[in-house]
């Protein structure tokens, strides 16, 4: 499965990047292709390209704040969770994405 997403927390220093790492590790473990854009204090990094979004099966927004560029995902299946869910139970979250993408 092909997952793209965004992680963003309130201060944009710590949770954003820990969530990114956990999501990417869990997705890779499940055999998925994954790319998570981060929107933190430093700004947007690891930005998603239009092609990556177009080929994604599902969009994961692990966000505690309003993020920019959500309109890029118009027409896509979007799952929105707080960063803490991605940090606490990344494997469960990826399993859930598989379920939702298949439904």
């Amino acid at each position: 499965m092909n997952i793209v997403g965004i992680s963003a927390c309130t201060v944009g220093i710590a949770h954003t990047y820990i969530a990114q790492e956990k999501i990417e590790a869990a997705a890779k473990k499940a055999g998925d292709t994954v790319k998570i854009e981060t929107q933190g204090t430093i700004g947007v990094e690891n930005a998603l390209t239009a092609e990556e979004i177009a080929s994604a099966d599902i969009v994961l927004l692990a966000v505690d704040v309003k993020v920019s560029g959500e309109e890029r995902f118009a027409g896509k299946k979007i799952v929105r969770v707080p960063t803490q869910m991605a940090i606490k139970s990344p494997n469960k979250l990826i399993a859930k994405l598989h379920e939702l993408a298949a439904s």
Partner: protein, 154 residues
């Protein structure tokens, strides 16, 4: 390898406290803020700690696995820095898994980040490492600042 070397630059042996004896969050944060102040990272420790506690009040900073990541983006910060504490005994802390914490990583970031982009980038790569089980495992077992650095080489 190059990337790892630069992530390690975030770690300042002067602000790493291993085998720390502390009983609660307030005591730990105070000791960690002292180390940041002594090493020249803070402009105003009181203002910085106020901002750290403000963030604590907004949501859980214990990320599970005995690790907490309190942080403050604050006018009290002079330059971007990190203090790392490894405690001998677990202390109570609000966390995602309901456990206390033994490893605390306290981030200090200023309100005005212009000109600090490369530092912020390093800090984000450093934070990312805290999402790795091997890093956390080795960090909690660290005896010294050298061990802490090694943990982040994972």
């Amino acid at each position: 390898m190059e990337e790892q070397a630069s992530v390690l630059d975030v770690i300042d042996a002067g602000t790493v406290l291993t085998h720390l004896q502390a009983h609660d969050k307030a005591e730990v944060l105070s000791m960690m803020a002292d180390s940041l102040e002594e090493a020249g990272y803070l402009q105003d420790k009181e203002i910085y700690l106020q901002d750290v506690y403000q963030r604590e009040s907004e949501g859980v900073t214990g990320i599970g696995g005995y690790i907490a990541i309190p942080h403050g983006k604050s006018a009290g910060v002079r330059k971007i820095g990190v203090s790392i504490a490894v405690l001998d005994e677990e202390i109570p802390w609000e966390s995602l898994d309901g456990q206390g914490v033994k490893g605390i990583i306290l981030f200090a970031v200023g309100n005005d980040d212009r000109g600090a982009r490369s530092h912020l980038k390093l800090l984000s790569l450093f934070a990312r490492k805290l999402g790795r089980e091997e890093v956390v495992h080795d960090l909690l077992a660290a005896d010294s600042a050298a061990d802490v650095r090694k943990a982040f080489m994972n």
